[in-house]
């Protein structure tokens, strides 16, 4: 395998890791505050549809972004209502949200566009186009470093850069601010947060709103950056891979970056069976590469490779003492 092929695979890795990264960080904020969310998938899907649909109608990807994020946050609000206000089962609520999104997107897509549950394909200003970093052309002649710069680092849509910058931002918010400390405490020991006079309910709603925002960005990137338009079920399990990445990362932002890149790499490889065959000289079935993130997660969960311990109060509705 030559260097350029490697760069291509890594470039695809970055693209495929971006939606995972947004969703993974979304789950991280939410679960750190004590709310389990298996509805990442649904929020992502809803956002993908509404961003593509509104971008197609308005011609502006930024208005699309706004619509996508709004849709995702609305579903996050439903999750908050069910799991915080009405103290329902957070897992059941997440499952319900996935189905709501999966049904509604196709119904509305068919009603609006009549193309069998997809949006028209987006082009021009209705998409997030690739950004060429300065000097990319100039340096592309330079072997290795220049090539990497031009092929790998340059030429992504703005959301990719935003996604990667969200990692240090999340780290800083969760581990270096007062809000982050309280958020983590709400996920470990909400009674203590309450005793300190901080409103657990409001804290958890804030976390869910951030989760909705980030899931929204994941969906927007999926439909307007990675691909040009919405198709039925286009999130295709990414919400669950992100959940897997979150466990793999043990609920830490920098580890999340690493695990999302790893899972993105597996996805990139499953697109290039020829590369896999050339490198390993084995005929690895594509299905195995598809299933690898899930298998790895099970192995991690089984505690064979380090132990993943979720936030202690995760999944428990907080009931204030009277």
């Amino acid at each position: 395998m030559d260097f350029l092929t490697l760069l291509q695979v890594l470039d695809t890795t970055v693209r495929l890791a971006t939606p995972l990264l947004f969703a993974c960080l979304a789950g991280l904020v939410c679960e750190r505050a004590g709310i389990f969310d298996i509805g990442l998938e649904g929020k992502m899907l809803a956002s993908a549809f509404f961003s593509a649909a509104v971008a197609a109608i308005s011609g502006s990807v930024w208005i699309g972004l706004l619509a996508g994020v709004t849709a995702s946050m609305a579903l996050a609000g439903v999750h908050g209502l069910a799991s915080i206000t009405f103290r329902g089962n957070q897992l059941i609520s997440g499952v319900a949200i996935n189905f709501l999104a999966s049904g509604l997107t196709v119904l509305i897509a068919q009603d609006w566009f009549g193309q069998g549950g997809r949006t028209p394909s987006l082009s021009g200003g209705a998409r997030f186009n690739e950004i060429k970093l300065p000097f990319a052309d100039l340096l592309s002649g330079l072997p290795y470093i220049g090539q990497s710069y031009a092929e790998l680092f340059s030429g992504h849509s703005i959301l990719v850069y935003v996604g990667f910058l969200t990692v240090p931002l999340t780290w800083w918010v969760i581990f270096r601010t007062r809000f982050g400390l309280r958020l983590r405490a709400a996920g470990e020991n909400p009674e203590a947060v309450d005793t300190a006079g901080v409103n657990v309910i409001r804290l958890r709603y804030t976390a869910i709103a951030i989760c909705g925002l980030l899931c929204g960005l994941a969906g927007v990137y999926l439909a307007t950056g990675l691909q040009a338009g919405f198709v039925k079920e286009m999130s295709s399990g990414r919400g669950f891979i992100a959940l897997a990445a979150l466990i793999f990362a043990k609920w830490r932002p920098w580890y999340a970056l690493f695990s999302c890149l790893l899972f993105g790499f597996f996805q990139a490889l499953s697109f290039r069976p020829d590369v896999v065959k050339a490198v390993t000289s084995l005929d690895v079935p594509g299905q195995l590469l598809d299933a690898l993130p899930y298998i790895l997660t099970v192995v991690i969960l089984a505690g064979f490779v380090g132990k993943a311990i979720p936030p202690r109060a995760g999944g428990e509705p907080y009931v204030k003492e009277n």
Binding site: L91, I97, N98, V106, L107, Q287, L301
Partner: protein
């Protein structure tokens, strides 16, 4: 303290929740430009207006009874088995292998064998997450989700690489042969002279599903094991003091759960006479809605499965005649899960207040 009488808890709350889901679905249908009552009429005619419609409705109902029981037994042990889909997928593989391995002389032999094959494979697929939860503390919800995806990938691999006949492009096994053909409703009702559409897939599996409900009831409410499972579901600590091993309960409940999902294969695989990709078609997830709606009781499961069977067949008819995609059912399914499952308290809290006011006239509730 229980504020609500038992009948309100078992019947009134689910009914109100379903009513809310249907009202919202009706509003969505209205938004899509169809009169909801017209849509309902189309669905009723399509699903219940002919023996052909009934044949499909009961075919789907059979699937949902099995997956509903699968989710229900796990709920009794306070486990959330979201892996019914994967377990039913593997069950399909088990039943198909049994049907393919031997040229069966008669369905009376093939059926029990396929049932055992499906149940074993389904149970095995549930055993791994159960063992991981019981012994290694890995969260069963996450592992069963992962196992759904692994099952799907495994199925594609096996069908494409090994099971599809030589030269075929279609990822499906060959036909099972005449000895594994199950009697359809048209055959069964024909015996007593009742005409029934012979092109509808409802078959003898429906009665096996009803039998499974009876066995489920006996297991949960009339055996020591069922008592232990329920005790564990109510309180892990109390069960522990009573000498009930939590690990054993998790594993046993999940094995039964997986086996029930696997049994679905006699209907979804054996009755279609070959194993195709995605033979489960989301029935594993519908099982969650069915179990929640049916309050994890076999009678409730039958009624809820019938409702979803009706929605499934009726939704298909709606897609055919009214340009409303089949995904309407997924939306309704999501709403039912949301309102009967997650937003249970939204209905319960005001209801409790009303009952308190009735009981103690003149005093404000709670």
């Amino acid at each position: 303290m229980t504020v609500l009488p038992k009948w309100a808890d078992a019947i009134l709350i689910p009914l109100l929740s379903i009513l809310i889901s249907f009202v919202i679905s009706g509003l969505v249908i209205l938004y899509l430009g169809l009169n909801p009552f017209e849509a309902l009429r189309l669905m009723v005619t399509g699903a219940l207006g002919s023996s052909y419609g009934w044949g499909y409705t009961l075919y789907y109902t059979t699937n949902f009874i099995f997956t509903g029981l699968c989710a229900a037994i796990a709920f009794h042990a306070r486990l959330f088995n979201i892996g019914g889909e994967g377990q039913a997928t593997l069950g399909g593989l088990g039943a198909a292998l049994v049907c393919l391995a031997i040229p069966w002389p008669h369905w009376t032999l093939a059926l029990p064998a396929a049932l055992i094959g499906g149940a074993l494979f389904g149970a095995a697929w549930a055993f791994i997450p159960a063992w991981l939860q019981a012994r290694r503390g890995s969260h069963i919800v996450i592992t069963t989700i992962m196992f759904n995806y692994i099952a799907a990938a495994l199925m594609v691999y096996l069908l494409v690489e090994f099971l599809k006949p030589e030269g075929s492009m279609d990822p499906a096994t060959r036909r099972f042969g005449p000895g594994a053909e199950l009697p359809l409703f048209s055959d069964i009702f024909g015996l007593v002279g009742i005409p029934f559409s012979s092109s509808a897939p409802a078959n003898i599996s429906f009665f096996i599903a009803l039998l499974a409900c009876l066995l489920f009831w006996l297991l949960v409410w009339r055996t020591r094991l069922g008592y232990e499972i329920r005790a564990y579901g109510h309180s892990e600590t109390a069960a522990g003091y009573a000498g009930i091993s939590p690990a054993r309960m998790i594993i046993v409940a999940m094995i039964v759960s997986g086996a029930l999902a696997g049994c679905m294969a006699i209907n979804s695989v054996m009755a279609t006479e070959r194993l195709v990709l995605n033979s489960v078609e989301g029935a594993g997830f519908i099982g969650l809605a069915v179990a929640l709606m049916g309050r994890s009781h076999p009678v409730g499961v039958i009624l809820a499965a019938l409702l979803f069977g009706f929605l499934y067949q009726g939704g298909g008819e709606l897609a055919l005649w009214a340009n409303i995609p089949r995904e309407l059912i997924i939306l309704i399914q999501g709403l039912v899960i949301l309102f009967t499952g997650a937003l249970d308290n939204m209905v319960r809290m005001p209801l409790e207040r009303i009952f308190l006011m009735i009981r103690r006239p003149g005093r404000q509730g709670a």
